[in-house]
Amino acid sequence: MIATGHDTRDAIVIGGGLVGAAIAYGLQRQGLSTVMLDEGDVAHRASRGNFGLVWVQSKGLGAPHYQHWTHASARAWPDLAADLLATTGIGVGLHQPGGLHFCFSDDEMAQRDALMGQLRREAGNAGYEYRMIPAAELRDMVPGLGPQVVGASWTPYDGHASPLHLLRALHAAFQDLGGLYRPNAKVTAIQAAPRDFTVAIGSEAVRAPRLVLASGLGNADLAPLVGLSAPLRPERGQILVTERTRQVLDLPTHVVRQTEEGSLLLGDSKEDMGFDTLTQTPAIMRAIAHKAVRTFPWIAELNIVRAWAALRVMSPDGKPIYDESERYPGATIANCHSGVTLAGAHAGLLAPMIAAGALAPEMSPFSARRFDVQKAA
């Protein structure tokens, strides 16, 4: 349903990417009449550049709350996928067979082991299962492993899904459940009062006691309007996509994964290029190709059909921001760079909190106030 005119709802979500759509879906599922405002094609669409990992491994070093949140999301994912399939008929291609992070030297293996060990300690009672797997055993798990690979870290929690199917399914489910989707709706003003928000989109407006800012990099500008702050910067990643190939790689890895359609995605680069997703860097593309071939030499003969660059939404410490406004209760902000991994949590855990009117106490380490503390220190 795409509506016009003035509107009063139970909740407004600004942002129709993976974060906004998951929260909006979760709210609508909680029985709240929700409107999702989405910009047009010009928005910085981080969602379209997502690699597709549902990744737990190595998240949250020094931040047990983030580690737990990621675990919880991975646990919530199967229900999310099943519900979306049941509601929309769209399969999001979730597979959670565990995942690998390759190491190319003994030093790398040792460092990785230390990192994983630290994560285990920080996990506390929740536990953290991982293994460092040497190359000899890895060869039974993945096809054609390159001779330069020394080993890998593995956890059983990791998986992958199709980001585009997920986005489509969330949108379809949201609308099927009665949610209102407004595309090409750029927010021009926000009038804020405690539990009473009016959002202007050009000459129209929507009003609700709950407002969620989930517009990715756009949140930096919107947050102050509701007494919040969202220090965010874009971190660019480039991805290469091969032609369709018969299924050969079942396990997701942090640099290569095979989609359900058969394409292999090659990635994991990081650059500081501002908001530019339109240019590409041959040197980076070459490095990605080189790493992929080192890992799996058989990838060398596959054709790269397309490539893209996308912006990760990064907070100063790389961890999500979830915050609720003190001055304007009812306003919540959500930012992360793992929109697929955290979709389970966003739909199944965060949305109920927003519906109930307050974030759970364990969410407080995610508040952007932590950056003020850092600044003050």
Partner: protein
């Protein structure tokens, strides 16, 4: 179904090259493409599509439609219309998506 016109292209200007399309020998003028060889061979399809298994033959012959993807001399998914024939060339139609070759890599 295409046929050559040897009367219009007399040797030695029009040297013929022998290639193999799906194992069958075809003689094609030097300078023609592997896609032309497939069309001259009368093969019913140069590939079947990865999505639905539909048969395809070359459509544009200038390298933009990508319907002429074939395995040429063991290399999969080459645009046959951009590959000039060479003596002994093996052109194999492809069925669906290519397979990654794991064993050969080292």
């Amino acid at each position: 179904m295409f046929r050559r016109r040897p009367e219009a292209r007399p040797a030695p200007r029009d040297r013929l090259v022998e290639v193999f399309v799906a194992g069958r020998s075809v003689r094609v003028p030097d300078g023609a493409s592997a896609a032309a060889a497939v069309l001259l061979s009368g093969a019913p399809a140069i590939r079947t599509t990865p999505v639905n298994g539909a048969p395809r033959l070359p459509y544009c012959m200038i390298g933009i439609c990508f319907d002429c993807l074939a395995e040429i001399d063991g290399v999969a998914n080459r645009q046959a219309c951009l590959v000039p024939v060479a003596p002994g060339m093996r052109i194999e139609p492809q069925a669906g998506a290519r397979a990654a070759r794991i064993e050969d890599a080292a």
